[in-house]
Symmetry: C2
DNA sequence: CTGTTAGCGCCTTCAA
DNA sequence: TTGAAGGCGCTAACAG
């Protein structure tokens, strides 16, 4: 595998390697003539900077690593896409790693990334233990959390950019209320997820304030998949549904509800209204058209990268700090007036 | 951000930095005593190898990059997961990048990766132009293609590991024949995809040999999503379906067919049988239970990594060469006897 | 078993 | 405008 270096080019051009380095880094202190010659040579010989060497020397790399709990949830897949697009635009590249905060070997992953001197880490998690983990590492590498926001957990506050789950829950409750619903269920509440807890809390509070009756349907598993939603909904349908609307903790859960509803010949939204959260792409499909809350992934991801980059330039400012993005209501076809 | 180096440890331990390096790399030539002392110090001061320096010095990194056309297709998401698990087990890490062979700036991505001296690249693609692209870069970095296999395209042969699409197509045809079907449709044939072309060709050939009538329903778009499947199926249902079975080019397409069928009150498998290809996780869900061909992602990914690693150790052997993994039939609930 | 000496490829003063 | 020299952190002979 050929490996033409800065030195080779220097020799070829009859200059020193520092001159080549300068040219490559766009220093103004290079005569137009030599610059041209060097550039030509680089092109001709297919020179390619060795980023390892460059990063080593510069003390920082252009790789941002993101850790996420699995690409199987389309939400993450969609977010990573946006993340990469924006990061590239800002001159960085994304290294995707699987990992959950609860994994016993999660610290190995952090060590590995730190060992590679990544510019920063974006941790996707809504685990309660995430802040603690971050605090343990944030003095060794810039980290920003994506997916938790809990003012109440002040002592555990860390740098974070996230959907405003409280606002989301409120919007949902108000929307359903406006449609005339008075008895609703929050389906899929998962204790281990801070996001879900917040959504649920805010939804419930608002709903009750408005005078609605709300029932809670917890999700005892550790993930929120279509499957889980399907089983929860089945239970609820078997018990006999008293409510006129369901607010699912996320779109995947909502899709499961839809599947179960079909099986029970329950029509949405005629028999019951359904709302999700996340706006995953499936939710927009013609045969689905799920009404949901859009976290504005693009903004969210750009905000996250931006936040990291800002702090990269001013490490001393790298302390706790939360950036919230407001979700917006996306009315489609699964909610009806009662 | 603290940065304790090998030298610091050396000083602290009162030895030279090479001794530290040796201990860290598990050389046998270190006395138990000093080894212990050094290790303790490393632990105490939170020493972390600088992988950049290590890779630079050693001339090779432990990062394998994989390029894929989007995480939105669950197939890729699932594959990447397996890929990462196995790679990690073999001491490598995966860097995920988005990119399609047809992208105008795809060579920039290759240059970037080469610049980072990644150990190798795994390119996920079934584009006809993939082999050419690979040939252009394979003398600069080890690349293995994941997703194409076309013996006919001999001149374009490159290192590849892939599902045996021909076998898959044949299995499908034989299975449907065995169930009594005599008129079938291949739905979602996408010209730009070599995989799909092969599946289709083999399916059609086998079916006709067995005396079945097969109709082709091409997919003129550039991707294979639920959405596309939905629209194709809708068309076919509107035209009036003469056939008793549908073989979809992949599971996503098949899911779209299921959605359309529901809308048309066509029952699967009572009114029509349906088969997919890929075995994405959704396909296994209780409300879906799609009969499909399982590419055996685990084997496939392990084979891919293995292939790359073998060649890494013996670069001179890095020429064309194809490794095929046989898909296996997964009978679930969407195919019936006629 | 251990220390010394050279790099790996690049960037960055400091002089010239 | 350019070159020489030193260093980023680590590995890898080569002597002892």
């Amino acid at each position: 595998m050929s490996t033409v270096t800065i030195k080779d080019i220097a020799r070829l051009a009859g200059v020193s390697h520092s001159t080549v380095s300068r040219t490559l880094n766009g220093s103004p202190n290079v005569s137009e003539e030599t610059r041209r010659k060097i550039l030509a040579l680089c092109h001709q010989y297919g020179y390619q900077v060795n980023q390892l060497a460059r990063s080593l020397s510069a003390g920082r790399s252009d790789i941002i690593s993101c850790i996420l709990p699995g690409l199987d949830n389309p939400l993450f897949a969609e977010m990573v896409l946006k993340l990469e697009q924006y990061a590239r635009q800002r001159g960085y590249h994304i290294m995707v790693c699987h990992g959950r905060v609860e994994d016993p070997d999660i610290s190995q992953l952090f060590d590995f990334l730190i060992g590679h001197r990544v510019a920063g880490i974006i941790l996707f998690s809504s685990s309660r233990q995430a802040p603690e983990l971050i605090q343990r590492y944030m003095n060794r590498v810039p980290i920003v959390l994506q997916g938790i926001y809990d003012v109440a957990a002040a002592p555990a506050a860390v740098p974070a950019v996230t959907t405003d789950n409280l606002v989301g829950g409120r919007i949902a409750a108000e929307y359903l209320y406006g449609l005339g619903h008075r008895r609703v269920v929050y389906l899929g509440m998962r204790q281990s997820s801070v996001s879900h807890s917040l959504r649920c809390e805010s939804f419930t509070d608002t709903a009750r304030q408005l005078g609605m009756a709300v029932r809670l349907m917890p999700n005892e598993t550790l993930s929120s998949t279509i499957d889980v939603g399907y089983h929860l909904a089945k239970q609820i349908f078997l018990d006999g549904l008293q409510e006129t609307a369901i607010f699912a903790s996320c779109d995947s859960i909502a899709l499961g509800v839809m599947a179960a509803a079909k099986e029970f010949h329950i029509s949405i939204p005629r028999d019951v209204s359904l709302m999700g959260f996340d706006n995953i792409s499936y939710a927009a499909y013609p045969q689905i058209r799920l009404t949901t809350l859009d976290p504005c992934k693009k903004e969210l991801m750009e905000g996250t990268v931006e936040y990291l980059l800002e702090r990269l330039d001013a490490p001393e400012r790298f302390g706790p700090g939360i950036r919230l993005i407001r979700p917006v209501l996306l009315e489609r076809s699964t909610c009806g007036r009662v």
